[in-house]
Amino acid sequence: MSRNPYVRPVSKTTWYMRNGRYRKYMLREVTCLLVGFYSFLAIFALAVLAGGSEEAWNAFLAAQQNGFWVSFHAAVLIYYLVYMTFDWFKLAPKAMPVQLGEQKLPDLVIVVAHYVAWVIVTLVVFWLAGVV
């Protein structure tokens, strides 16, 4: 190695702007904030339930019934599906390749299996919640 190796200057704060793949990575990773947000929203709901008052629960539901939360949840749902869920499924065969003897299970099979499982899980949640 030379005494003064050339270090290509790379910005620590804006490096992902150079490349579409890096940008997509960042767009996916920031969804962790949404995971945290909805986790704490669920914890808040549990806190209201633990209070044991039906009026408090109805007030909690009513407080969210406005245009702001409708557009917020709708925008988040679309963003989350595109950048977190569907991206996660796309990466699944790379993160968890399935080896069958000499051969690898085709990527497409793994991806499709994820979508099928996701539809089933979503339907179960909706069934539990009385939506379907």
Binding site: E29, V35, S39, Q65, W88, W118, T122, V131
Partner: protein, 113 residues
Amino acid sequence: MAIAKKSVVWGLFAAGGTVAAFLFPALIALFLLVATGNVPEGLQYGAIRGFAASLPGKFLLFIVISLALWHAAHRLRVVFHDFGVRMDKTVARAVYLVAAIGTVMTAFYLYAI
């Protein structure tokens, strides 16, 4: 030993990611339904309290929320690094502390229901 410990941490992270990818769209959709005024039957007071009071309900809610929190905390730690913040120890302590507080709150409220 280091490898064994790491695999547990990684396993929890991956499990949390699976929960976040598979379950969270449905959770967001439920909040969206509530916001539009179409509160599903299962989210009416009696039904949701009954669910959270049942042992399988408690177990499911605790697993889902705690894994998601752990997963989000770990990813947020990396996101801080990616945005150029180089105080990993401080960041790690802060995000894991918040996740731990959330986990304890979940356990406490579920116990109280």
